[in-house]
């Protein structure tokens, strides 16, 4: 399978000397649902900004479906749809005009653009707002407007920078469903997100970036296997005052009083239930904690910070 995005040795040094990207390599296969994760200032937005021509690179190669942005920028851009982190449309223009104008920039005549705009505005629940100036929309609607705008020219690669930031849970779930459908239909999707639960739920492959370097670039499955630890959330019949001590298992209470038990690879769950039974604690339901990726992410970023400090101290 060919690659939707190939990045080689990408470096970015800003005018003030800050090295945001330190020669990163990255590839995203066609049809993938890919997450680029990292803490604030790690280099996620800079990377995507270079791919989308919003940031000038210092060195390195970027190819979108084989089109080099240095030599075939126009072809590369035709394959790209971009949903930025910040609202970046004219707040005074009407929803329909914003979407059709964007199509016009891709050379799509108004008649054809209107059909495409109607399709995506309907899919994203904005058709009823088509004549509303963008400034009158709610935050969630503005996010959906940016998605409709990014899709109006039917790109093969959709890049979303924090697409669900500030969006309520219900809307976030509906946006996930929409993006999954787009991906099933063949659109390659790359997203950055602070909600690691989102990456865990949607993405097949993940790269973790920190301080301008790629720390990990692998499948979500392989990444989660490295965790070697799974957290189970147990709801008990009676509320617990404190987390019970269960031998080798690490336990704690979550914010809502449910019992969280960490189970390492090779440990059986039976022992947990035997001990809880002996204590007279009745479990009424159990689920795995969804944000396993978050734990792994935090570990990697902390380890990277520790390594960086050691290197600095070593050099000194």
């Amino acid at each position: 399978m060919s690659n939707a995005l190939e990045i080689e040795g990408l470096t970015k040094i800003y005018g003030d000397g800050f090295e945001a990207l330190k020669g990163i390599d990255l590839h995203v296969a066609e049809g993938d649902f890919f997450a680029l994760l990292g803490p604030n200032g790690a280099g996620k937005s800079t990377t995507l900004g270079i791919v989308c021509s919003l940031v000038n690179k210092t060195a390195g190669k970027v190819r979108v479906f084989g089109c080099d942005i240095d030599t075939h920028l126009s072809d590369a851009k035709l394959n790209l749809g971009v949903v930025p982190q910040e609202f970046n449309f004219n707040q005074f223009e009407k929803v329909f005009d914003i979407v059709t104008t964007q199509a016009g920039y891709y050379g799509i005549p108004l008649k054809q653009a209107s059909v495409s705009a109607e399709k995506y505005l309907k899919k994203l629940g904005l058709w009823g707002k088509r004549d509303t100036p963008a400034r009158m929309l709610s935050g969630g609607m503005k996010r959906r407007l940016m998605i409709a705008r990014a899709l109006v020219h039917e790109p093969k690669l959709l890049i979303l920078d924090e697409p669900t930031a500030g969006v309520d849970i219900e809307l976030r779930r509906s946006m996930w469903t929409f993006l999954e459908e787009m991906n099933r239909q063949g659109t390659t999707i790359i997203l950055t997100t602070h909600y690691l639960e989102e990456a865990e739920a949607l993405c097949r492959n993940i790269a973790i970036i920190d301080h301008g370097k790629i720390l990990k670039h692998t499948s979500k499955k392989a990444l989660l296997q490295q965790l070697g630890l799974e957290t189970f959330v147990l709801d008990t019949e009676s509320p617990l005052d404190a987390a019970p001590v269960l031998g080798d298992f690490h336990t704690r209470l979550d914010g809502e009083g449910a019992l969280e038990v960490e189970v390492e690879k090779g440990q059986g769950l039976n022992q947990v239930f035997v001990q809880l039974d002996q204590m007279g604690i009745k479990v009424i339901s159990m689920r795995t904690k969804a944000n396993r990726l978050e734990e792994l992410f935090i570990r990697m970023v902390e380890q990277n910070a520790l390594d960086s400090r050691k290197n600095v101290e070593g050099a000194a």
């Binding site: 021509s53 919003l54 971009v82 609202f87 449309f89 707040q91 016009g104 920039y105 891709y106 050379g107």
Partner: protein, 257 residues
Amino acid sequence: MTPQALFTAFGTIVIREVRRFTRIWPQTLLPPAVTMTLYFIIFGNLIGSRIGQMGGFDYMSFIVPGLIMMAVITSSYANVVSSFFSMKFQRSIEELLVSPVPNWIILAGYVTGGMARGLGIGLIVTLLSLAFTQLSIHNPPMMILTVFLTSALFALGGFINAMLATKFDDISIVPTFILTPLTYLGGVFYSIDLLPGFWQGVSLINPILYMVNGFRYGILGVSDVNPFISLGMILVFITVLAVIALKMLERGKGIRH
């Protein structure tokens, strides 16, 4: 992009620009009409009637071409500088930057948008002037060419100003401290024959003098300078500013990090 796609992209930018200035017509179309009407009444009728003839014409007829040109210059400039800077400020310029529209189409689209407003205002002011004086056009091709090229030139100037501007103050400095004085001293209200020799020489380094006089020649057939030199100068300025604007777009000056 195919030539047809490029034309669609160009048309999209122009239509968006026209939609913008017509949507806010009380800010864009009405003020110059009101201001120029006041100029016609005060300078043309009230004061002009006591001045007598200038350049062989009554004062009202003399200032009409200059006032039309003044309106065209300020409107062409203002449209592009405010529209493009607003796009930078709101970051909606990113809509264009991520798209495959080439830089020369972006520039051509904005300049044409600025010209649409400048020439539209020029037409409004011309129609208003007919209420005060009769216009007989001496050389229509020269008049049309001069006003079109001048409008394009100042739209380009507005584009460069917007690229360089980092705050709203920056888009009013050039119009207030450079454009307005040069326009007022560019022979809109007087013939430079009235000035002492030294100041005539100084006036000749003001580029707006050539544009006003080229346009005046087109309408009245009189000019302080050779109208063909005027046209040549405008073309040179257009070429220089277009090259600068394209270079700035290529480097992403003020729009790409």
